[in-house]
Symmetry: C2
Subunit: 150 residues, 2 copies
């Protein structure tokens, strides 16, 4: 049975910030931002979104389920690639409009569809008033063409 | 002079994901999500937003500037509390719709307006089909009433 969540609009400011009611503040599209960290290292693997249904699925099954904004569908992370994420802990922030989720990244350890461990494989550099990107050198742990066929 | 950024709509998929052009994908409100980490520990301090102007200010000054969605104004983090954030590194993700920023948190080391180091001071627990929040025990490093006067 799906979990139900408290409505943040029905709670006062102090209850949202200091209370024990879990009242995720979904945005106008019914989504909440999720930052996914690797257990042990706290490396940021990815940032994605959940709706109430996939948040409930994640908490009930212990396996990360996101909402794919591009496909407009439930996204059980790793269903195609095998890189399932086992949930260790979910935390929310002061105003409950964001979630930090710690996971054990299974499979080859690649959370990113490019085959890298993390989606954050480029840093911003500014030179002569111009911003550009530089690769941080994260290796590819799988070949995306072989896994996704495109 | 403000930095200008490439337009992701003008770039093909591979260039956005593997290239050196920094083309932040601002949302319909002109904002991009920023996950802020503490240098050395990689602790997630907070999640907030920047627009093109505050992203440029952050890169130019080396001090974190966000866009406050509630106040609809530039938010130089720590201007009131003294908890300025010195930028160490900015990274972006595969589709460039998110930023991870590593900072040195100055002042008393509290990124959260509640006086705690991190905004993520509560974890979600599920018992008997009910989700609720539990304090993780992060201490308050300042008294918000004394700092903000309310």
């Amino acid at each position: 049975m799906p979990l139900t969540f408290a409505d943040p609009k029905a709670l006062d400011h102090d209850t949202v910030e200091e209370g024990t009611a879990f009242a995720p503040r979904f945005d106008a599209h019914g989504l909440i931002t999720v930052v996914t960290l690797e257990a042990e290292t706290d490396t940021v693997l990815m940032v994605a979104h959940m709706n109430a249904e996939t948040l409930s699925l994640t908490l009930e099954t212990g396996i990360a389920h996101y909402w794919s904004r591009s496909r407009k569908a439930i996204w059980k992370k790793g269903e195609t690639s095998g890189e399932l994420q086992e949930v260790v802990e979910l935390r929310t922030d002061c105003d409950q409009d964001c979630i930090v989720m710690t996971v054990r990244q299974t499979g080859r350890g690649a959370a990113c569809h490019t085959g890298r461990k993390s989606c954050f494989y480029r840093r911003v550099v500014v030179e002569n008033g111009q911003a550009s990107l530089e690769d941080t050198g994260l290796p590819r742990l799988f070949d995306p063409k072989a896994v996704y066929g495109h």
